[in-house]
Symmetry: C2
Subunit: 682 residues, 2 copies
């Protein structure tokens, strides 16, 4: 574990450069938070004027501090940053949190300042959190550091939370007393000039006090590095990400906020799914899921039993199960017989088990215990709507006290007084859920993590080539593809003048394509004509294409002649390089309506065999190839091998910015025919 | 307004049959709620033993009550129901709430009891809410009736809330002090033996105190009646529905809970959308939306301005805009110039406008006012994350005090103390939102309502026919379709023996289909062969089909010969009768992969012209017909007229349970060719 990162969360001495005696100022509130929360180490405030602040003796300057400084929190005004950081580096401080704003987030000058600062930091082998951040928290008893300006007293937990937005961090801290969120470490990373999620993920992976890693991100610092950390198994703990900037407008807003490059949301979705990282939709789901991992045993599967004292909320729960791909388990006859002895006669012993509003704590206990014993049940959701005659607290506590290897997630809808009673008097303080729909998401997220696949490691050798920017020529394309054992359709490239010569010498039927550098989408130019059966047809057709091009004020430079294949299906295989996550592969229905049908699936080019299965199973065309609804099942070994080849091509040739094989024709015998191929170099 | 329904919400005298002196019993708690809330009329408890309960004099029996009883609340045990109801009817009580359970929801005997009870009620021209319900509430100052057993004191509002689940009703009442939900009327309708949403919707439509109608439903009593209420404009106020039972398992759970017939969720979705009823996903959205209608002016359009003091929450808001089909408005240059004078230099005057954490109430006021004046802005979302230096309450109140014709939705993320301060001290008590994503849903729901289309009324004459159950024969089908000016393709039906005779006399190319009553999906039996070009091919092909059928142990009974049409596209047009909503029409991509591509759109057969536009715009095949991506735009007048005809056919022939035209071939000239038609009678 790198000491300079460790010291952000486990310092024995902290210096507050810019401590202030002015209430409500950040330099004051930060020190107040540190004091209130009871930091266990040395507190060293620096202020040129004040003798002491909040009872702590102040140092006139950093140089006046004699001992070691493990962690420096810098809140001085922007103009004083340079001197402050230099003094800290002279004092050999290696861990600096820079709270002050006014860097990359405000424009060019700020970005330049940030760059210079970073060079200085790196030269001195120090590490920096921020700038433009709101600090760090470490809740463990031997540390008790709240170095943020929100003076709440967070409770200790096993979750690490990183926020790229100070405000989201503040909103979470503001709400702690209502949401009962607990964490071990909290960090607001601000502009991520130096330290980003890619530094903290491996740190938390090694820190035994942390069990779950949660991130609020607006951009990925290097998504490809993150992928590699997972491929090489440097991250095994559950990682839960709330990524803002789902919409194009949101991505734009995130760009102007973070100054980082944005990936399209479908790429983010695809990559996180592929590498077993849990993506959540909002902060509620983020913390509910981390509570799930921290407080409940792992569900063994997706068969869920529901017990309730009320029909309506149970129906909402059942709906949420299907939405999350979980199933209502079939209770065994044995279970039902046992339940009949406990449930009221007008209740239900089928799943959902209904105890009616009179359900008591004894009934709830027994029913939950019986359900835990049923082999058809992997997890239980127990719902309690507080009725007049049965107070909620004793029921909830009774269920909390059940010892079982299967998790029991409790939903409670009580009068408001319940919550304080629970916070104060509960022995286990097991998290409860307020909405019928919440546990299904948590269970589904936990199962997603436990079922994530083992990643295969590919051996990749980067190839440097001297192609110039733009689309590769046909001959360059052929040469490159040959390296990956990919054959283009046999074809002949001729000039318009040569048509008459050639027409008598070729084997029909053929496809004729007009080619010009100015016409990329040939079908829109009516530049491709298929199934030409003889010499005469060829000559007429070539004239038509020349005319169609003329209409768009373009000359046909060449004609491409290929054999006409009567294919079963048209596929699309393509790839591009994402600004954050690097090489990506696309698969789906091909042809000219690609953008209407949108039947495509995207994945990182770091593909395993199971990912290719996914391409097939998650697209409609893949299901058809697989023989759904009476369609002929087609052998897919050639397709698998082609996808493997193009993914390797993207991985090994970092200068390929995109490629597009559309359509790739597939015949009933599984043979593939690439009839239109474009590769672009950047 | 029917007096018997009016008396549920505006009674001057109420009788509580089954009032009890035993604390925590329903008969006691109900009376306690009524007392606590301060009912303004006469309270007449009936209990054979007690002299008085909670200070109210008790009557030994209903007969002992002298004056008029406007409303009776019945909580006696099941065995005493019959006598109690009879006594009430003798006393000419016309409005009865039956809280007691043990009817349809518990099985056959209960259902029979409920039926008998209903006959009795109907014979006496009384109306019944329940059984198995938790009562009614009317919050207006001249009434103040809380006749439920949850002793909360709801605040007055303009929303009516109906819950088909007592527990969901109870959960809402339990949470009132946290959620600040307000309503005018609350009703738990239980089993809906008599009174259902279809009685209360027209009542609330006429009640001027009610502005918004909200429903939690598990089943629709008669969806077709609801459709007709909207078609004939008996309901114009906003109606917001949370319908549980989205999933198949959820529908099953709802069935066993309510004993009602279930519609598939896609039908519910389609119908509510078609008739301008707002469907929400959860209780939060239900009440947020009703708060929107009640407290904010209607947004004029979908161009939204966002103002914030923090980047992160604003990005989440921007994401939510796109999700809800709203757009971030382009602020005018004039607006930006004005904003520059107010926003801090490092903030942003582009949308989202960022005032940074230091943003003050004065800045927030001015920015909101400037945004209100911009013609490009239809509504504003103003976000405030409480920082250390600026307390939330004064900022929020300042914004509340802005007078503007455009709505300003405020999101606030404060310390917990804020909420009580706001509840007590706010002058306007305008609802606030806790999550950045909430206002977008509310605005989108409000716009959905204000943009709902005017419904066209069709003249329909029900036709009774004497078809027997099952599929219509070919000749019956032709005859029925002819009435609606729908022509089948010319065809010839022959026996296998006649093939050789016929083969020389017909015009090629043709399609040959093998027919047997045992083979409905012909393509799966390889029973259809297209593009047969000559006599020889026909004879070979017929033998093939006979062999294919033999493989499935079926004999070919007849062969159908049709001209082969080289069609541009294959469409599906179908219809079915939904148990709740009646006649439905489907449109989409046809052919054998219908179930893979799932490119279909469903609507109620009560179609207007705009609904047919929707069929085209919301399906991929429709977009292709319309000429997307270089496809030839096809004239659709014949298609429109066919869809109109089949919808009329479904409306006029209630005995048609389903029909299926797949494929309907459409050629480039817009001509349609029905090649496979099935109509089923029930």
């Amino acid at each position: 574990m790198s000491k300079s990162i460790e010291n952000f969360f486990y310092p024995k001495s902290i210096c507050i450069a810019g401590a202030s005696s002015k209430e409500k100022s950040i330099g004051y509130e930060l020190l107040r938070s540190i004091k209130n929360y009871g930091f266990t180490g040395k507190i060293l405030p620096v202020n040129p004027k004040a003798e002491s602040i909040l009872g702590y003796k102040c140092f006139k300057s950093i140089n006046d501090i004699k001992g070691q400084i493990d962690l420096a929190l810098v809140v001085v005004p922007k103009f004083a940053i340079d001197d402050t950081i230099k003094s800290l580096l002279v004092k050999k401080v290696r861990s600096i949190v820079l709270v002050t704003a006014g860097f990359k987030e405000v424009g060019k000058q700020g970005a330049d300042d940030e760059k210079k600062l970073l060079e200085l930091i790196r030269k001195n082998k120090a590490r920096l959190i921020g700038p433009n951040c709101m600090g760090v928290i470490s809740t463990f008893d031997d540390i008790k550091l709240n170095a943020t300006f929100v003076a709440e007293k967070p409770e200790k937990g096993k979750t690490a939370f990183l926020s790229q937005s100070g405000a989201i961090g503040a909103a979470v801290l503001n709400s702690l007393r209502e949401t009962d969120i607990k964490f071990g470490h909290f960090v607001s990373v601000g502009n991520k000039a130096d330290i980003s999620e890619n530094d903290l993920l491996p740190f938390w992976e090694k820190d035994n006090r942390i069990k779950i890693i949660t991130l609020y991100l607006e951009s990925f610092s290097s998504g490809e590095e993150l992928i590699n950390m997972i491929i090489y198994q440097k991250i095994k703990k559950p990682v839960i990400i709330l990524k803002a900037g789902r919409s194009s407008a949101g991505i734009k807003a995130a760009l102007s906020h973070t100054g980082a490059l944005g990936s399209s949301d479908s790429v983010v979705d695809a990559v996180l799914d592929q590498f077993g990282i849990i993506r959540v939709d909002d902060l509620n789901e983020l913390f509910n899921t981390s509570k799930g991992f921290e407080n409940f045993t792992m569900p063994l599967g997706k068969r869920i039993a529901v017990v309730t004292n009320a029909g309506g909320p149970a129906i909402l729960t059942v709906d949420s199960l299907e939405k999350e791909n979980l199933i209502l388990s079939n209770l065994s006859e044995n279970t039902k017989n046992k339940l009949r002895k406990i449930a009221p006669p007008q209740g239900s012993v089928n799943n959902p088990v209904d105890l009616l509003p009179g359900g008591t704590k004894e009934q709830y206990r027994k029913v939950n215990e019986i359900l835990c014993e049923d082999k058809n049940v992997d997890a239980i959701i127990s719902i309690f709507v507080e009725p007049v005659m049965v107070p909620a607290f004793p029921v909830i506590e009774e269920i909390n006290s059940i010892k079982s290897k299967k998790p029991i997630f409790q939903v409670v809808m009580p009068l408001p007084e319940f919550w304080n009673e629970y916070r104060i008097n509960s022995k286990t303080k097991t998290p409860l859920f307020k909405n019928s729909e919440d546990p299904a998401k948590v269970i589904s997220n936990m199962l997603f993590y436990s079922n994530r696949k083992k990643i295969e490691v590919k051996s990749i050798k980067h190839i440097s080539s001297s192609y110039s920017k733009g689309f590769l020529s046909l001959s360059q394309t052929k040469k490159l593809l040959k390296k990956y054992n990919i054959q283009l359709k046999k074809d002949q490239l001729i000039t318009p003048n040569e048509i008459k010569n050639v027409a008598g010498k070729i084997k029909y039927p053929i496809v004729l394509k007009g080619i010009s550098n100015k016409a990329v989408h040939k079908t829109e130019f009516k530049g491709v004509i298929v199934n030409i059966k003889n010499e005469n047809e060829l000559i007429t057709t070539s004239k038509e294409i020349i005319k169609n091009f003329k209409n768009k004020k373009i000359d046909v430079e060449k004609f491409l002649i290929q054999p006409f294949i009567e294919a079963q299906h048209e596929l699309l295989i393509g790839g591009f390089r994402d600004p954050a996550f690097g090489p990506m592969i696309m698969f789906g229905s091909g042809g000219k309506y690609v953008e209407v049908y949108k039947d495509t699936c995207i994945k990182s080019a770091y593909l395993s065999e199971k990912d290719i299965d996914d391409f097939i199973n998650k697209t409609q065309i893949g299901q058809i190839l697989n023989g759904i609804r009476g369609a002929k099942k087609i052998k897919l070994n050639k397709l698998y091998s082609l996808i493997n080849s193009v993914s390797l091509m993207m991985l090994e040739n970092p200068n390929i910015s995109e490629f597009d094989f559309n359509p790739v024709l597939i015949k009933n015998d599984g043979s593939l025919h690439l009839v239109d191929v474009r590769i672009k170099i950047n």
